[in-house]
Symmetry: C2
Subunit: 106 residues, 2 copies
Amino acid sequence: MKLVEQKCQVIGKDDAPLASKEIYNLSTEISAWYIGKNFIKREYKFDNFRQAMDFVNKVAVLAEEQDHHPDISIFYNEVELTFSTHKIGGLSLNDFIMAAKVDMLK
Amino acid sequence: MKLVEQKCQVIGKDDAPLASKEIYNLSTEISAWYIGKNFIKREYKFDNFRQAMDFVNKVAVLAEEQDHHPDISIFYNEVELTFSTHKIGGLSLNDFIMAAKVDMLK
C-alpha cells in the first residue's frame, strides 16, 4: 500500500527505528524530502504569509488526526517541516506516511 | 506612549537601526524577551499542540494587521517567535511594538 494511503500507528519506545535499507526504499515515495540521520525535512514556498499559514493549519489538522506532529518553522512565505519519531530516537514509518500525506496538502 | 499602544510604522531601508541605549530602554517593557544583536526572541509554552496553534493563529492575524511578521517555530506545545527588521539589518521600534502586543495575546 502506498504511504499516502496508510495511517500512523502507535509507536512504543522499544520499537526499533527503521533500518537504512527501509529508509532508502521509502524515500523514493517522498523524493522532495531531505533524509537526515534521525529526521526528514522539507521546505515549501508560497506567494505570501497568508498562504503559508493556510498550509500550516492544514498540516496541523492532519497532525492531530494522525497524532504525529512535525516541527514547523514559518519564515514569512516559507514553511519548513521536520518529522522525527522522538520516542525511538530515529525514523519510523509514521514519519514517511506523514510526509507523503503533507505533500498532498500543498 | 507604551509600546503596546503604538502601531508599526513603515521602515525604509535607509532608516537606522535602534541604538544600544534605545534598545536597552525599550527592553524594560518586554522583559521576558531575549535581546539579541539583530533580533529579539521569546519562547511560549502551552498545554498542547492545539493551544500552541491557536496562539500562532492570533499572532498571524496581528502580524498581517501590523504588516510586521515574526519567524515562528512550533515544537508541539512550544512556540518560539523571533522579530527582526531585515530591511535595515537590525532592530527597529516595530520589533518591540510587536513583542509587546504579542505578549498580550498569550
